[in-house]
Amino acid sequence: MSWLERLLRSKVFVVSLIVLPGLWPAWPILRGDLTVLADPGKYLLHHFGFVACILLATVLSFSPLRVLWPRWAVAQALNRHRRLVGVSAFVYAAIHLGFQFLHENGWPTFWKDIRKPFLLVGMLTFLILLVLAVTSLKVAIRWLGGRRWKNLHRLAYLAAALAAYHQAAARKLFPVQVVWIFGPLLALEIARLARQRWSAAKPAPRAGA
C-alpha cells in the first residue's frame, strides 16, 4: 500500500481536506485584507459556492477514475469517500445559500432576485443536492432499492452542469475557474463513455482470466 493510498484511505485526512477550505476565510479576514473587508459577506458567499463546486466536480470524478483505471489503488481509495465528499458538497452549498440570504439582507431582495435565471439555476442545483444528501442515508437506499437509488443519484451530473452555469453567470465576464473546476470532470466523463462503448463492443478480458 503506497503512502498516498494510505493517506487517501484515511477518513481523518479526507475530512480535514474538506473542512480546511471552510476555515480559510478566517485568514484574509483576520489579516485585514481590505478587498475582503469591503464586503465580507459577498466574499464568504463566493468562497463557499466555489468550494461547493470543487467538491461536486471532485466527487463525480471518482467513479470515472475507477472505470478508467480499475486497478489503480488511488482510485479505489478515493471511491471509499464518495458519500462523504458528496454530502460535503451539499453542506458547502447550503452554507453558500445561507450566505446569499444574508447578503441579500433577508427575504424581500432574496425573493426578488431568485427569479433571475442564474439564481434559479443555483437554487435548483441546491435542491438536487438536498435530495441526494437526504437519500444518501442507508435507510433511503434500502427504501428506494438499488436501481431506483442509482437512477436518482444520476441527477448529480445534472447538478454539476447547472452548477457550472450558475458559477459562470455569477460574474460579468466568463470566469476561467469554471474551466479548471469542471473541465477535468468533463474530460473524464467523455473518456469513461468512450471506454464503456469500446468495452461493450469488445468485452475486455477480466483480470486474471
Binding site: 485584507d33 478587498t35 469591503a38 465580507p40 459577498k42 447578503h103 439582507n105 432576485d113 465576464l173 470566469p175
Partner: protein, 324 residues
C-alpha cells in the same frame, strides 16, 4: 525604484489632512481639535493636496457630503473594477502599481469635431481648466454595490467649452490607455481594448459630469484611474472610464466597450435605474461597501442614483427600458 516627482501644484504631504480627521467629516470638531480658529478657514481650503494646479481645491458647496457617509479611503482604493489589470476586485491595486506608471508625461488628446483640437500634458490641461474642486458623489456599480466618494477635479463642461465643439458634434468618445506590457488584463484580453466610453453632448454639459484627477484630496491612485477619469454619478460605474488618453467629439454614437461585449446586458446610457434590472440580477437595491457588519447594509437604489433632479430632463420622453 519609484521616484516621486512633485508637481508644481502639489502641496507637501505635511499639509494633507490626516485621514482620521478627514474621516470624521465634522468640520467644526476638526477645526477645534486642530485649534485653528479663524485661520483654519484658510487652511481648510488647502485641505486637498494634489491635482490642483496650484489653486487651492475648493469644496463645491452644492456637493458636500451632507447626510452621505463617505466610504473609507482604504476601501475605495482596495475594491476596484479596472479590468485592464485583472477581473478580481483586488487585482487593480496590486497590478496597477506594479510597473505601470501613468505619470509623469501623460498626455490627453482632444480631437474630432472641435475648433480647438490638440494634445495636452495632463498637468497643463488641469491648469487650463482653472483649478480643482471637490464634490462628494454617490457611486453605484452595475454589480449592485455602492460607495460615496469625494472626487477632486473639474466639470467636464469646462473641457467641452475649451475644445469648442462644432455644430455637427453630438457625442463624446473617450478612449483609455493601451499598454499590454504593463496591463495584465490587456495581456489576457479579457475585454476588447482600449476601453471606450461615450456620452451624448448634453450629458457631458450637465453640471454633474466631472473629470476627476484626485480623490479624498489626494492624487488619483493608479487603481482608481490615474491620472484622470470620467465621473458620471447618475450612471453605473463602468461609464466612468479611467486613465483617459483621448476625448473625441463625434457625430455618431460611439460603441462603448461593455456594450460591445454584451449589448443585451450593458447599454450606452447605463443610467442607474432600480426599475430596469440587469438580465442576471436585480438593480432594485445595492450593497453599501463598508456599510458595517459582516453582511453589511443594503439600501434601495434610487433612480438616476439620486440625481433625478439634475439629469432627468436629459431623458425626457425616452423609454428607459429600451435605452438602458
Amino acid at each position: 525604484m519609484r521616484i516621486h516627482v512633485p508637481k508644481e501644484w502639489e502641496l507637501p504631504e505635511s499639509s494633507v489632512t490626516p485621514e482620521s480627521a478627514y474621516a470624521a467629516r465634522d468640520r467644526r470638531s476638526f477645526l477645534k481639535t486642530a485649534g485653528l480658529g479663524l485661520g483654519g478657514a484658510v487652511l481648510l481650503g488647502r485641505r486637498a493636496s494634489a491635482a490642483t494646479t496650484g489653486l487651492p481645491p475648493v469644496d463645491n458647496p452644492d456637493f458636500l457630503a451632507g447626510a452621505l457617509k463617505v466610504t473609507p479611503y482604504d476601501l475605495a482604493t482596495s475594491y476596484n473594477n479596472f479590468y485592464e489589470f485583472g477581473t478580481d476586485k483586488s487585482d487593480p491595486k496590486e497590478y496597477a502599481n506594479d510597473g505601470w506608471e501613468p505619470e509623469p508625461g501623460w498626455s490627453v488628446e482632444i480631437g474630432g469635431l472641435v475648433a480647438n483640437p490638440g494634445k495636452w500634458d495632463v498637468e497643463d490641461l488641469v491648469k487650463k481648466m482653472g483649478g480643482v474642486e471637490q464634490r462628494v458623489y454617490r457611486h453605484r456599480c452595475v454589480e449592485a454595490w455602492s460607495m460615496v466618494i469625494p472626487w477632486d477635479g473639474f466639470p467636464l463642461a469646462r473641457l467641452v467649452a475649451f475644445a469648442q465643439p462644432r455644430r455637427e458634434s453630438r457625442f463624446l468618445k473617450f478612449t483609455s490607455f493601451l499598454d499590454p506590457k504593463h496591463a495584465t488584463g490587456q495581456q489576457q484580453g479579457n475585454l476588447d481594448y482600449p476601453y471606450i466610453e461615450g456620452l451624448v453632448l448634453p450629458e457631458a454639459l450637465n453640471s454633474l459630469a466631472f473629470i476627476a484627477t484626485g480623490i479624498y484630496g489626494k492624487p488619483l491612485p493608479n487603481q482608481n484611474g490615474a491620472p484622470l477619469r470620467l465621473v458620471t454619478p447618475w450612471k453605473y460605474g463602468f461609464k466612468g472610464i479611467k486613465s483617459i488618453v483621448k476625448i473625441e467629439f463625434t457625430p455618431d454614437m460611439p460603441v462603448n466597450t461593455w456594450r460591445k461585449m454584451a449589448g443585451d446586458e450593458y447599454g450606452f446610457f447605463a443610467n442607474v435605474n432600480p426599475n430596469v434590472d440587469h438580465p442576471r440580477w436585480s438593480q432594485a437595491s445595492e450593497k453599501v461597501i463598508g456599510g458595517g457588519g459582516f453582511f453589511g447594509l443594503r439600501q434601495p437604489t434610487l433612480i438616476f442614483n439620486g440625481y433625478e433632479k439634475q439629469v432627468a430632463s436629459l431623458y425626457q420622453g425616452m423609454d428607459l427600458r429600451k435605452f438602458y
